[in-house]
Chain length 395, copies 2
């Protein structure tokens, strides 16, 4: 039954599977003939405010399939905070386009936007259902077992660590230590994922630094040196916002570079720790930073992640038509049998907005600076097919 | 027919398929029952000099298969220059192990080592056949159409550029420019490979910097800015040893950091160009450096590359038993039909040693700072299965 118009917004950092959620919404909308018109905002809320809106109503199934397998937000994204003062503008635009359903594919900030719009539409009497479709590589959304985007990026990081580890082990004396800086904002889920392929103490990573636990430089360097002395190589994986007692590492150091306009540049935690390690150990320490490659590498997409990203999109349409409002489509891990499966449920966006899901205490061993087996049990099903097992002649 | 003993050395930087060549040698040796004993030097020539040698004669087919699919040099690698003065030592050790065949899996430096050992064994009357099995992600070996290791790393770089490009396009104003620094030593083959997935002028990369052509900062920044103004985003891929008129970029700048021992640290060309771009364009410029991840990511292995890496190993044994000496196993591109195929031939190591195969003039358009269609025709078959085609709603 066609009821009214819908609008889709993609928001925040992109993931390798964010467009699977977009495809899920579009496919289910076509299938159920749910909406008179279905629109997409170009470059998120920024674009919406400029009325930069595209009509997706007649998009072909072929085009949807092509979008689904493309990384990055196909509609374009933005980082925009909806407040009481700018929401009236937004509601006016939604009204002009007769939008009754708003799907926001995004993370914590998007949940806050969904909450704000929900509240203000009620106050102003504008009939709107806001559905938050979760998406973040950082896995820091509360109210869901995990978030679409995390599994694929975790798979990239696990494979990158295994590969870079083999490289460092191979090169031995000429470049025995590698420090990899990964994303994750204020939570250590992605950094911890570097350990998913680690089976023995000789395997990389040998140290993981997460923002939840301040780094003690002496502890870090001792562990790095001990590993190097024992195995002939060492790999540390460092979250971008790793901290020491003074705050985020790098930001509290002397600026590395000052440009002609007086802007100061700081390098991240990985860079600083690599220089520190180089000074201490007097060997070459490689510093690697996959950056946005980690969140857009299609050859590392997890089938589980990709399937669930579409699932939350599909379910968003179904729940919306059942009257859901101001909710996030959460993923629930089914515990019925040993084979991993998942389903969805609803979480009020007010419970998610502006909150961060940190790595729980039992997922990280701060003494050994390594994720625990509990973390691995949690993360392994999410990265899809099993990781390869590498040979080792250099025992 | 068993004749005598063989030794395998892996040398220089690793590749995702260097162990396919090792597997090729081991499989063919087992199949032909060629050698009484087959040894491997642990950590290359360095290990050989310490008599750190492992006996691979009875290695199982299962173990060979496991080694074949592992990145990094399974035997360990080193960077060691064989000279007239240390070669006598090496020949003594080879003599103690009754080595009649020496297989060196390596790049330009290894060809020089092969040449040196060949010359000195003749002078000293020690009967030795030295076979160079090519390997380098840099693709800078002359005397071969291309080198095993290049295709897989090129595939990684092409996919990384496509993905990071989609990310930058998606993020638009909040992070519209990305500079990716890739390897390649003094040649631009890998940087050029970032263009393999580029189909339109809007697709990334928009600028490629190769060591063969000095960068003019003004030209670079103008092109970056024009692209950004036109398409809302821009991606530049920069080879690690890109130069300006003063030499390698970064090395001629002020040191970024000086540690407590007085060691000075310089960042690479990509870092410098990103800071330069940030100053000029006043927008966030992301700097990404996949480092050894690009040469060890198993999910990007090219089937063609992997097959050819095994082929040169297999052929090395066959040619050795036919009496070949001081030769490299070259790959020849067959031009018989439109479908890509390749075979092997022999090139004297003296023609390869210490030489560098640069990107030819017709493979790079220095006016537009982009690889040409000729380069793409050359490289496309080497990366294996076709790259995905991404959707674009942000035209």
């Amino acid at each position: 039954m066609k009821s009214s118009n819908a609008l889709i917004i993609q928001s925040g950092g992109s993931t390798p599977v964010i467009n699977q959620s977009l495809a899920g919404i579009l496919r289910e909308s076509k299938k159920l003939a749910s909406f008179t018109k279905i629109y997409g905002a170009i470059h998120g809320t920024d674009g919406l405010l400029k009325r930069n809106i595209t009509d997706l109503t007649n998009i072909s199934s072929l085009d949807i399939s092509s979008i689904a397998t493309t990384p990055g937000a196909a509609l374009g994204s933005s980082r925009y905070k909806i407040t009481q003062s700018n929401a009236t503008n937004i509601l006016n635009i939604l009204s002009d386009y007769k939008i009754a359903y708003l799907f926001i594919i995004g993370g914590n900030d998007s949940a806050a936007n969904a909450k704000e719009l929900g509240t203000l539409s009620k106050i102003s009497g504008y009939k709107l259902q806001v559905i938050h479709v979760p998406k973040t590589i950082d896995n820091d959304l509360i109210g869901t077992d995990h978030s679409p985007g995390f599994g694929s990026t975790a798979r990239f990081i696990a494979l990158a660590t295994m590969g870079a580890g083999k490289d460092a082990q191979t090169m031995g004396q000429s470049a025995p230590i590698t420090i990899i800086e990964v994303m994750g904002r204020d939570a250590g889920w992605l950094a911890a994922s570097s350990s998913i392929g680690k089976n023995t103490c000789q395997d990389p990573p040998h140290i993981v630094c997460v923002p939840e636990h301040n780094i003690n430089y002496e502890h870090f360097l001792n562990q790095l040196e001990n590993t190097y002395r024992q195995f002939g190589y060492a790999v540390a994986v460092v979250a971008e916002n790793s901290k020491n007692e003074e705050g985020i590492i790098g930001k509290t150091e002397k600026a590395l570079y000052e440009d002609q306009f007086g802007h100061k540049y700081f390098e991240g935690a990985g860079y600083h720790l690599s220089k520190l390690a180089e000074s201490r150990l007097k060997v070459r320490v490689r510093y690697e930073k996959p950056g946005t490659i980690q969140r857009s590498m299609v050859s590392c997409i997890s089938i589980v992640d990709s399937t669930e990203a579409e699932m939350v999109g599909t379910k968003a349409v179904q729940y919306a038509l059942q009257g859901a409002n101001e909710v996030m489509i959460s993923i629930k891990r089914d515990q019925l049998n040993s084979k991993y499966s998942s389903s969805t449920e609803l979480t009020p966006v007010k419970n998610v907005a502006d909150k961060v899901k940190y790595l729980p205490a039992n997922y990280f061993d701060n003494q050994n600076l390594l994720p625990t087996e509990d973390f691995k049990s949690y993360a392994i099903p999410l990265i899809g097919s099993p990781l390869p097992i590498f040979a080792n002649l250099l025992k």
